[in-house]
Subunit: 381 residues, 4 copies
């Protein structure tokens, strides 16, 4: 049936992983997917135990993505899409194999470990009929999408300033020894040269670009590794100049005690400003210049926006959060994939971050690394 | 297999309903249930269409709960549990039939339309081997449970005051004509004599009792129907006296413009106070008397509480909300039901609102109705 | 000169007092007064030391108000007005003497210790040419006055609900033994029969009446003394019915740990709601029903209100607080007194709480005491 | 008498001025000064009218500071101190003349128009017996001083990050034509080459240095004039490197719609972080790493700090704001000047910004101007 649940496989996300579980919940919330196969771990015992946890049939639990793609291709009910939730260095080979096998890809960010890989993957995606989506989940919140629409409609006037920040505290000390999540994120071989920059800085950059619709022209950066012995950055300071004259700052850190998951953006035009914070995602400040009132827009304020409203499940005052925002992306992708089954397309596709967003994110990472190495020289993306 | 998903049926919740969809999402978030049957609507066409939407097999879509219970009993893979998400007046007959058929019940609140029905249901539940859970979802938030533990540990000292409120705005005008949700909630035949009082006042009362662990002794109430022609209350003022000397106030309203879903509780002892608000569920204020610091407890602050921590899915700063709180209750019930499959019990059962909570809620409703009728006379529960 | 500073005397407010210092700062902020005489303490040594502290000439430091009024009357530059900042039981005799001597009165609240005294003072004031102002300072904040104007203009529609509260924590234990401020406030001989009710409950009631412009018809009250041995109430629960059909609740407490000075009011009409909190006095929430935006009004948002704007001294974002609100009242009174010097009147007088407000406050206190004694019987003011 | 009020003169601050009125209120709040003379305006009619407004005797109203200093020196009761509240370009000549005449100086910021003038004034101050204080008022809030003490005590551990910002909205358009305050601030001849940078950027820098006690080593800056035709910057982006390894960012803007007076600082060490915002000055967030609780420190939380507590006038929950913070500085200076009358010193002097702070502020301005001109080159102060 055209509307049947999407048959999904997963690479990574076995016991002890973090983001895999988030993807799975996100895929279930609106009941559009069925997780039927997995290469959840390269360790056979972990792969098997993880598959059992997830009600995956034993014969569809694999220990490598190559095996999974090959075996599933033989089945009538083989997977249609794969979620890639491995450490960064595996994104490229898995995504490449999937796209070449015609399997749709839902890939965690950053898209690859290096800009070169991203450019290569862009070519592969262009040749493939399969869909490629990148889970920049923060851009799927209703009010984030509404913010973008407000700017497109000119409600802020000419945008002059984009101030974005994303501080966390969890790497203030050196948990790398004990904590698997910390270990791979601070290991250049798995994570890439960018530490905090790649892990959360890309989210901040993507959110700024997504909402403002501005293209970053040049940047000046100052990277730091505050924790002794750490091989990758744990704090990022960037000044930005956008095409058209707007400017901005980006700060991201994983050594800021008291900051939980502090992604926050403020954009100012010559007519108004707005502010949104991930930790209070159901409201947004919109502040007209010298307005008689400050205004706070809430998720259910009868928003005149289809794309915002489609991501709302509950009435006003019922907070939706991180998992629901993530689920919005999964549901959007399901709509695209169901349309493709019928040989059609779906308008929501333009709102889903894809390979282009991924490449742009890697250009940003590379420019920050280059500028910081050159003592802050303004560097073109 | 002992750990297989719980086979779930649903009564009510067809197209156009609200709370049914919430129950379904809640049941899916942690992947512990499979919705396999439904009496989703008494109108055959709506029942069929709704079942199709939900991937329920056509032969397991029924047009009455009686038929569903009878037919499912014949199957090896028949439903083990039923979610009751109808208007209030149907809670009693459906729950009675399920309990008598040995089917576990997950019932929306208030438990019944009248106190008499609740007392009758209590007897039926006592005779049944089946489990009965009542979805007072707000008591399943991690920090709500933690608040209760703080009080049990004596961190507030002797509790003196319980101030609880639950204002909404959505019935400020008279949407009854156009809005199905408004229509049945303001119709005494479907909803019971209590309007706002039964719909959300019971949540406020249950939350106060759940956290404080105090037993309400007497109350003095003043009910109002502000909207002309409305047959049930839309504003509730109550003064409360608890056994042991504590006092409190309860305010709930559906005619308070600007209030979305403002359930909020404040409890004060002789050593400290605390405050929690449903619209910001991931934090709680805890305020020791003359403390050098006010303190805000956050969901992921390494809480020394198993029952709080088990309801957390994401790291700090990743907001979880209404659906996740609701899911906590479904997951707790799944743990209980899985244990029962093995002839065991599960400690979490004591944290799940059951028939006793339901009866107490109906006693509260009855006492408020009686007191208000008697011009605020202090009335014993 | 007509515009010269008002020559002010003070009764009470010697070393160790609290509210006297507040009155003095309030009188200085806009430089409209000169404190030239005082009966600051009945203890001569304290009176003298206090006068020295305040740069009052020794010959104008008195040990009784009778002496002060008599001696100052002999001087060409004698006092024109007196601030009464004693414990409550002295308000009546001092105010009576001043009014009879033609000296303008600025009196702290509650106006007297009993309703009888208040009614008597009302007659005296009616016969006197002197002005009588009561320092219900909270009604002098710009946004409080603006709130009243919004209601007068119909921006809330028909007002249905008035929810006001004023919790504090400072009497949670029994500081009466060591703390002079606590001692007189809990001593019925000095404070009157009302404890928390008279000290801060009157502020809450006055604020509700001032903003809503509703007249309280009847009330049902429940008073408590939680601290063992305390002779006056330390917690007050009241349900209210206003003339015209609006209802409300009032809660005030001095045993609520974590609450500093939590005066807060919420008013709901059939078109909109508003909320203001004394601890964040520079902003107010105004929330139209189903508005596309919630709105927060800020002190400097180009308010279309003369009476609000005249109480603002600094540009937007520069917080003004308790002392500035108090100063607004002093400056308003100075405008009235300067006008009277010229035989004129000043329009601001209608915004200043006077003897009528004081009498109404004592009626409220008496009705609460009576209702609580009668186990919550609805009692007419 | 040693404790008599300080006899104060003022230069600038006539009708139509802004900051002069603030200084006068600040000087009155604690009743430590008497404004007895003024060169309030260079226009004789405005000078006279302004003096009348302020109850200054006509013979002590002057039209030039030279005349005021000369005439007052002849009087036994001549001024002891002068407040300089002119546009920036007049700070230097007036302060020079006062210091050379032995008159204590209370000078608004920035200290001068150029670094050269500041260095010259530093030499003059060193030779004078008179006191020089600079009104960086934001550093006189109780919780700001407490923050500095927390850092000195090591409660944050080793400080790594200083993020400071100060956005405003009032110059988003071009009010220069109509608004006297805007006009001189955007005129390089009166204000200096730095626009927003000098007006509020210096406050942000001073606050960061004051609290953190870190010395800024180098900076990289990007200045912008967004409003067409404006000759000075209206937006400032700076990356900072402090001696010892800490880093930071500074953003200040006068073209950020919705931002009123948004001075805000966040400092992170390896043990804890803190945050303070000028618009909510009575509270401060202090956040220990992985603490079980976030903590909010409030102004009256029994702070173990003499220097913080001395700046508090009211009990908990009674908000004090901008004027009270400013008054703290005036009162501190009064204590110093009264001590000097007796040939003594006062310990509070070390907490009052002086000429050294002023010079450092001008070094900061100069380095920002130089770096921005050199396309962001890291520039040493």
């Amino acid at each position: 049936m055209a509307d049947a649940r999407i048959r999904l496989g997963m690479v990574g996300g076995g016991r002890g992983a973090f983001i895999g579980a988030v993807h799975r919940i996100a895929s279930r919330i609106d009941d559009r997917y069925e997780l039927v196969a997995g290469a959840l771990s390269s360790r056979p015992d972990n792969a098997k135990a993880s598959a059992d946890d997830l009600h995956i049939a034993p014969e569809r639990s694999y220990t490598s993505y190559e095996e999974m793609f090959a075996e599933e291709a033989k089945r009538d009910d083989g997977i249609e899409a794969v979620s890639i939730v491995t450490p960064n260095h595996m994104h490229f080979p898995v995504a490449k194999a999937a796209l070449e096998a015609g399997i749709h890809v839902i890939c965690d960010k950053p898209v690859t470990r290096t800009l070169e890989e991203a450019l290569e993957l862009e070519k592969i995606a262009a040749k493939s009929n399969a869909f490629f989506g990148l889970t920049h989940n923060y851009s799927a919140y209703p009010l984030v999408r509404y913010a973008r629409e407000m700017i497109e409609r000119g409600e802020l006037g000419n945008v002059r300033l984009v101030q974005v920040e994303y501080p966390q505290e969890w790497l203030t000390n050196a948990p790398e020894a004990d904590n698997k999540q910390a270990a791979w994120r601070t290991d250049p071989n798995q994570s890439g040269k960018a530490g905090c920059l790649g892990d959360i800085g890309t989210h901040a950059f993507q959110l700024a670009a997504f909402i403002s619709q501005l293209e970053l022209d040049t940047l000046s950066a100052d990277l730091t590794s505050f924790v002794p012995g750490r091989e990758v950055d744990d704090n990022v300071h960037v000044m930005m100049r956008f095409k058209g004259g707007a400017k901005g700052m980006l700060w991201t850190s994983q050594v800021a005690p008291g900051c939980e998951n502090g992604l926050r953006i403020r954009i100012y035009g010559d007519k108004a400003g707005l502010e949104w914070s991930q930790e209070s995602p159901n409201e947004m400040w919109f502040t007209p210049l010298f307005g008689r009132h400050q205004r706070i827009t809430r998720r259910n304020d009868n928003l005149d926006s289809d794309v915002a409203v489609r991501g709302i499940r509950t009435p006003q005052g019922h907070p939706e959060g991180y998992l629901e925002g993530f689920a919005n992306l999964y549901t959007d992708i399901a709509d695209v994939l169901v349309a493709r089954r019928k040989g059609e397309s779906h308008a929501i596709e333009s709102w889903i971050p894809g390979i282009g967003t991924g490449v742009q994110g890697m250009r940003f990472i590379q420019a920050v690394l280059d500028s910081s190495e050159a003592d802050g020289r303004w560097t073109t993306l």
